[in-house]
């Protein structure tokens, strides 16, 4: 019988090579594995990756498309990163996203006839509150009764999506929509303007970048950020030192829910103009990938979101040109995530074979 035993030994002071080599190998292996799949699909792997790169960043149009796609991912990525940092496992960014989108539609289709300068900030704040309240429920269940937030936040996704579906089939249904389950369009005052005149990029992207900087500042400079990190790393020591763990978890949940809701706001007010059930192709879940790839660093979330968005957008155009299914993008992301998680562990531990 082949005996294969291994142990992990922590590395105390990882050097630069130890920190950078495993992630680099992870990236290369991802490319290798997807190349094999591309070949199986009957395409030349070099041209596949070339087409993905070109489709994502190769033209002004492609680049703007990538930035637009990255915008909701930055918000959901931030939401997940903030929560995971405090070890609050918010899997429900999808629901919170729809909460933001729903509020945006409710307030933006003409009930409030205010000028944009007042209406937009009002809708932003209302969206944040809606997402925060939606996540407050699982947070309270966790801190009061010890209910696992992974389960509650995950199930809330389904509940809330069905709720939105019900509204779109009923009271929110656009009377001019020819029967489609779709809300009425926002009034112009409730739409986010373009970032630059004539370019298909809206202010949601600016808001996303701004949010990531704000979150970074909160995490590194504020007492709340310090508390959130302390609770995430060691609840027991944090409580002993006088930090109210439950209060910190609730504050974390409010921030996380608010950030995810901004994704919904920005998609509706910046891009779509109305609410449909296909508003998000899983941005909430992809936010988890983004946050993990960014090692939960708020500034890293921007980079990771651009990477992930680039793969999606690039794969779309690659698929049209090379005839390889777009599912290749999903596989690439999944493999990248798994290998990256492994690589991150290998930057901290050494494998010893006995």
């Amino acid at each position: 019988m082949v005996r294969f035993q291994m142990r992990l030994e922590p590395i105390n002071n990882p050097n630069i090579a130890r920190k950078s080599v495993p992630p680099a190998i992870a990236l290369l292996t991802t490319i290798l594995i997807t190349s094999v799949l591309a070949m199986l699909a009957g395409a030349n792997p070099f041209s596949v990756f070339g087409l993905i790169l070109e489709g994502a960043f190769g033209s002004q149009f492609a680049l703007l498309e990538t930035l637009n796609r990255a915008t909701p991912l930055i918000f959901t990525g931030l939401a997940v990163a903030v929560a995971f940092r405090a070890k609050f496992w918010n899997i429900g960014a999808e629901a919170q996203l729809y909460a933001g989108a729903l509020i945006t539609v409710l307030l933006g289709i003409g009930i409030l006839q205010w000028p944009a300068a007042i209406l937009l900030p009002f809708i932003i704040v209302a969206s944040i509150i809606a997402g925060a309240i939606l996540l407050l429920v699982p947070a309270l269940l966790k801190t009061r009764f010890g209910v696992d937030e992974v389960v509650t936040t995950l199930l809330f996704n389904f509940i809330f999506l069905l709720f939105v579906s019900m509204l779109l089939e009923g009271p929110l249904k656009d009377p001019m929509g020819m029967g489609w389950p779709k809300s009425a369009r926002l009034i112009p005052e409730a739409r986010l303007p373009r970032l630059f005149e004539g370019l298909r990029l809206h202010w949601g992207f600016g808001l996303a970048i701004f949010s990531s900087i704000i979150v970074w500042v909160i995490q590194t400079k504020s007492t709340l950020g310090y508390e959130m990190r302390a609770v995430g790393l060691n609840k027991k020591a944090a409580a002993f030192a006088g930090i109210s763990v439950n209060l910190v978890l609730i504050k974390t949940a409010l921030i996380s829910g608010g950030l995810a809701a901004l994704a919904g706001f920005s998609e509706v007010a910046g891009l779509k103009g109305s609410l449909t059930l296909d508003l998000s192709p899983g941005f909430g879940y992809t936010g988890i990938i983004v946050a993990m790839l960014a090692l939960l660093n708020p500034l890293g979330v921007v980079v990771a979101a651009l990477f992930v968005a680039g793969i999606f957008v690039g794969a779309d155009s690659m698929s049209r040109a090379a005839g390889v299914p777009t599912y290749l993008a999903d596989i690439m992301l999944a493999v990248a995530l798994l290998l990256m998680v492994l690589a991150i562990m290998l930057t901290r531990f050494r494998v010893i074979r006995d």
Binding site: L224, Y226, L233, N234, A237
Partner: protein, 513 residues
Amino acid sequence: MTDTLVEALSLDAITKRFGELTANDAVSLSLNQGEAIALLGENGAGKTTLMNILFGQYTADSGTVRVFGEKLPPGNSRAALNAGVGMVHQHFTLADNLTVQENITLGTQSLLSYSSNSAGAKAHIIALSNKYQLAVSPNARVGTLTVGERQRVEILKALYRNVRILILDEPTAVLTPQETDDLFATLRHAISDGLAIIFISHKLHEVMTIADRVVVLRHGKIAGKVEIKNTSKEALAKMMMGTEASPPEVANSTPGAALLELRKTSTLDIGNKPGLRDVSLTLREGQIIGLAGVSGNGQAAIADLIGGSMYPVSGQILLSGTPIQGWTPHNAVKSGIARIPEDRHKTGTIADFNLTENAILEHYKSSNFSTCGWLNWRKSRTFASAIVKKYDVRCPGIDTPIRLLSGGNMQKLILGRVLEGQPRVILANQPVRGLDIGAVNYVHNQLLNARNRGAAILIISEDLDEIMALSDVIHVISSGRLSPAFDRGQMTPTQLGLWMAGSGFDGEVSNAS
């Protein structure tokens, strides 16, 4: 003991390096059948590493392990067990929800065997427990047993597997002096039957009692091997530390006003750990109170009450005579209560935080380190640097994660963190557990200095020597009940031991003798 000596174990030139640290440097030792050797050494001397190599948990860089002449394959725990090596760990490895018999036989039967010889196993256990005076019922659930009984189960478990070499890692740390005597009687019996024993300890008088020979480790090297009959406690201590350590001199003090008082406080039981029963305790200015007792008898509840992590179900906590309001750890710190927690790794520090972040852990909300919710990192770093300098914390820098520090240096940082606030009350829970002698004396001197400037101090410790050396007043805690106050020198260790075992509370021992 037979006349012809049979070599049970021989370790030959074992060397193990962890990065730049040499944990074991060409360590050789041998052990005969029917012999007990003591492995003595400060924390970090390499005792645990050596035992882990013997057990195949680590692979030595060089050197060989032989059991009864047979070379053990390196890094194979199963081979060590099969060769008859057994170990009683300091932290027991028993399943609470199983019975004594189930714990003992666990792993000895094949999972695939259809029938189990339960009656035979039971008879064997009873025979062993009678033979070695290890009184414990095979049907009792381990969760209901006392610490002393659990240790007996651990020893029975080893004997049941026919071990020929038994390693005991600090077996007396959790026992009363009386239970220790019982343990030694059992061990002597087993030794006379031919068992070879390695006894790991840093309690010199126990080593002198039980061992035939002593092997002293210092900084991973053998510092000396001596026969017990040719040595003394003082000589061993010197060998262990390399220098003669002088315990701190304790002058008498005059206690002042009551700063913190527990008045008839009771708390709920937590699992099988008893809560407090009408405990009254007064901490006074300029006085050290020592709380002696076997671990898990309510010390944690007292520490939590004083530290603000718990509120009594009945009774009161008074701060300078005023009943406290809204008792939380934060308020306790603000009221001038400094807390050195029992577990510096899990509660005292956050492993992945750096020294600066750990230094401000209890103080980050004070105006020194933050304004309106924004941290002042410049001031925090100055504070951490000051502690590192003043309390001689050896570290690569204040930006290092604290998990890279040794236990002693970690404790010095905690000490600095709590003492820099000039606290009026200090709760020191196991302040020197696991520290080397140098660090122990340092911590004790800092506590004495704090007492001399007027702080009220409560030391909770399982080490009776520490309690007796430092305390102006001693209380014993047993099953959540607190003994009367004994003045310095009033009680002998044996008398305190009786209280620790709970007998004094029923009037069997008078307060003073």
